[in-house]
Symmetry: C2
Subunit: 355 residues, 2 copies
């Protein structure tokens, strides 16, 4: 091994934003949502095999930076993700992310990947997979309230996984709605821009809320939610940030990912500590009922959990095999003798002097 | 902006292992240790401005994977680090690491860097900076017990920061000692390989222990430690992993980085919860005494803390400015309209079809 060339153990496959776009487009967005949904459901079904911990959050006035680790004992994954509602004013994403998959037996990373696009995909796939268990049968219309970066992914995931055919869009910013409508044109959905949230929910069996304000907001009031609806609440995902009036929670059966995290970050942060919730993995494994009658209001109080990112990392790791959709990064030191890190450095000095 | 070319906000500087070696060698290893020690000391002195949390550890039979985040309110840093004692049998490093520095106001990463070499440097610099406050004045000889990947860095840091001129090396594996002695030849230290730990500590004013077994081991027994010595205990850094007999702890004044983490991971995990310790930042700011007399045994029960990595990330971020010692990674999605992530993906599809 040449001292100036990284050894094979130093290299970690890296999937850039452009690689991710080529991977997703090569497979097809809707196929990715479906396949990724399969990985997510598979991992929810083996929920008890995961090490689970609430994400580690660093809050500031402007937003939050979070680390979301989990492990199934063989692989370890974590995601770095931020949430900064004002970012778009400076041309930045509200949410950006990247993640790492590693081998538990050695601790060596086996994948580093962009996760901004991947998080949008996994969030949408999770919502739609959960809705398979909770949304009213035969529901074909979704209200999509909040038409930011996540909205089109939600619409397509519900189309391909749950079979909706109509989306009713609303955002406080009409330009956001216009953008989403433009992007969804020709994608096999009837797209209806609406002038108010009230208008958007009319006739919708599914209501998805995905707004980004870091504050207690009331996107949905109690009178807007009729019997039999499924609410997919995505936007409330950190302390002090909610979207639903608490009266809606009192009328709903609430389903969550991981209660210790959701009680801090989700809509149910408005409720007492013992407010009853059902863990969605228990529904997926048949240990708890999902929707039980036509007039029930079901609410998925989604905050995003580390296992969903783990599923997404697994998926990408599987899919890039045999492709050129990654580059190898010289991320890990790999001396000839693993205990001779200093010698590796010292010998590099000699090769620099020669060069 | 060309759809197939990442925009400027998508790019994150990445320092590879080879870039790190060129950076460190360009500055000089001892100068790096001294300058990095300065950054570490500066951050310990403003300890109260940091968000602190014990690291998030995922333990397995073979080792541990940890995330170590911290923030000073302006910058946020975290390190991914593993500890797998058996790794060297497969040609891998026991400890590998990488880290990220990010801007708190936007949540955007501003640096991704290898940290295997950097961790070795920061650990050594931390030990030596702490010893400035605790080691006996005029001490010139250090026993270095455990001659693995960290050992040469420790020896050079104590030489350049504390002024030692002699190191007495011991490892249960004589080949490790031979490797360290070879690497330290010509570095301005008198190097004395020893056949036992007992022999190594003879005449040493400073004893550094840095062994990697994931078990309770007794590298130093009580009778080996004479009055006036400073012990720099590096190796005990996770639950179930210690190096010192507890009788030594009872005779010593113990200094630690961050008690909530050290009580879990350090030598003092052998002691009751209320075992008295002094936080090293309080010594550095003059709020607590360091060494007070010649016969006192001082013990730095070091487990490594996130602020030290933060200091190291800050240092690298400062030092690569204006150099070519990094590459820009297309890590963050950067659509023209930040709320139009889907559109970015969709438009990439068009450019792929044209191409």
């Amino acid at each position: 091994m040449n001292a100036s060339q990284p050894g094979p153990m130093s290299l970690v496959p890296f999937v850039s934003v452009d690689d991710m776009m080529r991977l997703v487009l090569g497979i097809g967005v809707e196929t990715v949502l479906t396949e990724l949904g399969g990985y997510i459901e598979e991992d929810f079904r083996r929920w008890e095999s995961f090490d689970k911990t609430p994400r580690v959050a660093a809050h500031s006035d402007e937003g939050v930076i979070e680390l979301m680790p989990t492990s199934d004992g063989k692989a370890y994954g974590f995601k770095y993700v931020n949430g900064h509602p004002k970012n778009f004013q400076g041309g930045r994403q509200t949410v950006t992310a990247f993640g790492v998959l590693a081998d538990v037996d050695t601790g060596y990373p086996v994948l580093l990947t962009e996760m901004t696009i991947l998080t949008a995909l996994r969030t949408a796939a999770t919502s739609a997979v959960v809705a398979k268990y909770l949304a009213p049968k035969g529901g074909r219309t979704m209200a999509m309230i909040g038409n930011g970066a996540q909205s089109e992914f939600q619409c397509l995931a519900f189309k391909t996984i749950c079979g909706i055919d109509t989306v009713r869009l609303y955002d406080i910013d009409p330009q956001a709605t216009a953008k989403a409508a433009r992007n969804l044109a020709g994608k096999g959905l009837t797209v209806i821009p609406c002038a108010s949230a009230q208008e958007a929910v009319q006739g919708a069996e599914i209501i998805t809320t995905c707004t980004a304000d870091k504050q207690y907001a009331t996107i949905l009031t109690d009178n807007m939610v009729g019997a039999g609806v499924h609410i997919n609440a995505i936007g409330g995902d950190c302390p002090g940030k909610t979207e639903l009036h608490k009266d809606i929670l009192l009328r709903s059966d609430v389903f969550v990912e991981y209660p210790p995290q959701t009680r801090i970050e989700g809509e149910i942060q408005q409720m007492p500590e013992d407010f009853p919730v059902t863990e969605i993995w228990r529904v997926m494994t048949g240990q708890a009922p999902g929707r039980t009658d036509d007039r029930q209001i079901t609410l998925f109080d989604s905050v995003g959990f580390a296992t969903e990112d783990f599923s997404a990392l697994r998926y990408v790791h599987d899919k890039i095999r045999g492709t050129n959709l990654y580059q190898n990064l010289d991320l890990l030191a790999d001396p000839d003798d693993p205990r001779d890190l200093f010698g590796m450095l010292d010998r590099r000095s000699a090769s620099l002097k020669v060069a």
